[in-house]
Symmetry: C2
Amino acid sequence: MDAPRPTHETLRPIPLADVTIDDEFWSPRLDTNRVITLERVYDHLKTNGCFDNFRRVVGEAGGEFEGQMFIDSDAYKWLEAASYTLATREAPTLERRVEELIELIDRVQAPDGYLHTYFLLADSATRWTNFTVMHELYCAGHLVEAAVAHYSATGEDSLLSVARRVADHIDDRFGPDGADRIPGHPEIELALVRLFRVTGERRYLDLAEYFVNRRGRDPSPLAGELGRLEELADPTIYERNLDSIESVRRTYCDDTGAYDGRYAQDHTPVREQEAVEGHAVRATYLYAGAAALLRESADPELFDALERLWTNLRTRRTYVTGGLGSDFEREAFTADYDLPNESTCAETCAAVGSVFWSQRMFELTGEAKYVDLVEQTLYNGVLSGVSLDGTEFSYRNPLETRGDTHREQWFYCACCPPNVARLLASLGKFVYARSNDSESLYVNLYVGGAVETSLAETPVALTQESELPWAGDVALDVSVAEPVEFTVNLRVPEWSDEARVAVNGEPIDTEATDGYVSIERVWCDGDRVDATFPPTVEVLRAHPDVRDDVGRVALRRGPIVYCLEATDNAEPVHRLILAGAESVRAVHCPELLGGVTVLEGEAATERMEEWRTELYRPIEEIDREATAFRAVPYYAWDNRDPGAMTVWMRYA
Amino acid sequence: MDAPRPTHETLRPIPLADVTIDDEFWSPRLDTNRVITLERVYDHLKTNGCFDNFRRVVGEAGGEFEGQMFIDSDAYKWLEAASYTLATREAPTLERRVEELIELIDRVQAPDGYLHTYFLLADSATRWTNFTVMHELYCAGHLVEAAVAHYSATGEDSLLSVARRVADHIDDRFGPDGADRIPGHPEIELALVRLFRVTGERRYLDLAEYFVNRRGRDPSPLAGELGRLEELADPTIYERNLDSIESVRRTYCDDTGAYDGRYAQDHTPVREQEAVEGHAVRATYLYAGAAALLRESADPELFDALERLWTNLRTRRTYVTGGLGSDFEREAFTADYDLPNESTCAETCAAVGSVFWSQRMFELTGEAKYVDLVEQTLYNGVLSGVSLDGTEFSYRNPLETRGDTHREQWFYCACCPPNVARLLASLGKFVYARSNDSESLYVNLYVGGAVETSLAETPVALTQESELPWAGDVALDVSVAEPVEFTVNLRVPEWSDEARVAVNGEPIDTEATDGYVSIERVWCDGDRVDATFPPTVEVLRAHPDVRDDVGRVALRRGPIVYCLEATDNAEPVHRLILAGAESVRAVHCPELLGGVTVLEGEAATERMEEWRTELYRPIEEIDREATAFRAVPYYAWDNRDPGAMTVWMRYA
């Protein structure tokens, strides 16, 4: 295979196999993900029809197709997660399951490369006619991502061959030289760029570019389908997708019934889009794909658009947890500063997609602000997607609940659990990065472990110890066979304003450029960098246009966002009023919730007996009484007695 | 006709014809209602098919039935409003229109008494089968109320005869000796009690009692219809009602699909209900009817239920404007303390219904707290339902909008405009009341004008001058032919805590009992009561469980609730932070909005340039700058340049 041919200088991740993680916070989580969650996901897919659909195609199982139209993608996401695991450790049972599943998929694939179990089992006449709803390209994208992960992890091309046949099948039919179509749900764009990177096949890149650039231009291929949805599938399909033809049309149209396309980012070309709109997972997947594309070919206009969209997300449409997508029903963005805490969707998959997108933006720019959002999202809005024991998952991630929202063991639409699994299993990809000229190493996440790479054409090993997120000390030890000059860029987290860095005990200037302290020197074996990013308590307010956060504050310490849970507090959490930012203190509790630092402080509540008979009272008549509160990390909520929870605490 | 036979001592309103209104605040509004609004409503009903439907039945117009199934009720509400007007003044054109319409209705009525234009025009086989949706009893109720108003105003029984035939038709078929049915939308209960009062026919009272008591008992007649909705009407009817069979079923069922009935207060017997639930108009109409019933026959259990329900409404489910019904889509109550400001319904009709209900509760008890809610609702949530010029109406009455909510000239579902019209036209009924023994006069609302009545078997006239709502002085002058002993009960408004009262210049004790200062004495001609209820500015907070009002305050002065409108303020209203309750001052502006006292004061806003790039910032880094604000009466909002509005102002 040809090597990828980047066309301009950018950053690139370190291959997963070159990074090990040995970290007090993350290692137990990754173990749980590997041992418990991957097993759980596998078991659910074994029993919910997902694997059986593949077996049915080759006559090894009876019955009818089960699940939603895109249920194949859950198998692929599981394969991708499993492959990341196999990249870094031996896991014979997992390896056997991966091989069995790949072997099955290989047999399921049609001779012409087509691969989507619903259409292989039935209704073959409407293959490739209903891109709006049927998600064939979405599933193909997940297959390709799994194949790239499997090939990178094992060096074997068993799944990659299947994926290439799928990609070739698609490329033969659609895109620059084929029929004019775009996916209803982006995903294949990023996948095709990744496939290009491992295969060097330029046409995969061209197809990704086509899908990105075609989007939002008139006439929309999706708009053309909307009027004919009845012909383009057995109408019961829509119910299977928890949908109806009417609601699909409403979703894609404005109030006048005219095609709008915003829901699938098809309202205007990407490079002209001003704000993140529509279904949040679709949006982040599309923009992650577009950013990945940009690493291969410079396109300032597209880059400007992505930077503008990301800035819109970051400064107007992201929850403090990193969650995104305010509209519960549509799983979609709404308007700037519209961030309801209780009724939100904030889908786990959208947080995962946000990490993918931000990481690619970092890779294009080397700017730490993108990694800041990766970190914010990972520690909060992604981790909240799975229970501490790895067996229960959240689809929605509200920042406030009266106690009626909980993680579940599984979902009919089960996109989120394997998505968290694949992100956690690939955490190593986010810790370090290397400049394209291999002269600089970026330390992006403070996660203990090691990295082995090549810098200035010299093998370099670096071990990291980190006390984050609970304490701030980080140590980096350099191993090199001989002295070599390169740069180590330490990210200064946005939450840190007392960073200290020393090289071999000598303090250095911590003035950061693009969010990094750069240490450029000739490194010798045994050199050591000591850094401290003390995680101090921050009492945050939201932008005044966020109406749902008026009079409230969020507590953050380092990268961790906190919440109040009923089980920790004598008073109902929504009645607790922070008595003063200075009263909040951090207390580490090794036995609690797998070991967490909690925040405790002084609070007040209004005297409730005086409110018993009144709904509105003059402010000067309202008395308060002192109480205390305890807040726990948001990611750990709903792991004990169920009850009310809120991230945003009353302040006034 | 037999006289009504009250069975226990209660309060009763003074007949409308005995009260005149001559008040700086109210008279211009009542003139606008009489001259402009009644005319507008009439014109709309003339062109929107409402009157034509009646003509179609008698072959005087062509075409098909137009409008919603209950569109007849709009004609009846207009007749009721017009009749109240005729009770107090000559209005030849109005009188002619009333007579013409009554004559038409009389001819439309079927020989058996049936009267509902949709079924008279078509689909007669399904008459009286679909009480859930078709609202035949609801329309009958409004006809009866119009007839009672017309009879009381004119002494003529032209419409009353029609109404009696309708009531007899219903009584012959349903109720104690007929088929077991209840209305989907309460309204007929109150109407039947009123009909009993003017006719003395006990069976109307019995039928009302049956409808009230049958409600919420198993098996529900409405539940029985739900499974057969397809058979019980032409399915297009549901669309005509802006509805669908599916949504009707969802509305009446819980998440499991089991009958719930809460939407129509049919979930449990009224006397066992604990909280106001379901569609807010249905609820207030039902409870107003039940309370009216109680004035005729003591029923402590039912009274306790109504008191409990009213207390639930007052202390947990009413907006500070008197609005009610938090759920936009269902126009319904939701949960205690769930009072969203922007997404609410707060239907004008529900505020009107709340006034009806509270007034009947006062009549049962003589307690001023019920009148307090009447006053709060009249001055705010009812008056907001019509523009100052009387030509535009609101269906919803949100307490906050970003500028996209406005009054409209008319609605397809036009229940609200004639409902406001009939309430304003009958304002005189709410100003005074008299004890059943005729020994006490209650002065409930401070509205200038006069009342002529009989106290202690002596004719008494009382004139009232009132500066409310803008200033607090009230004067009452007594005219009697000879000295006579009776009691004058002056309501001390709940917002007043500096009340002063003097009789003939001599201050008297203002200690109130059940909210009234009682002045029991031998009154002589020329006696004068001077009272002062200074309307001071109150900065109100909501109960801590009202999540949408956290960190916010509402400004009230006397009975008037204020709001911030974009047109008066240089900064966006949602960003204005009240700088201190003591800064707020009242300024009377005779030229503004028909003459209003505005509130002005000091405010702050956060420095927005520092928020440009951040969505969340540490509280200690947030700077504010001083500004000023102006608030106007909520009832007067949206009468100038359209824009954002909020009742609840940031306080922190």
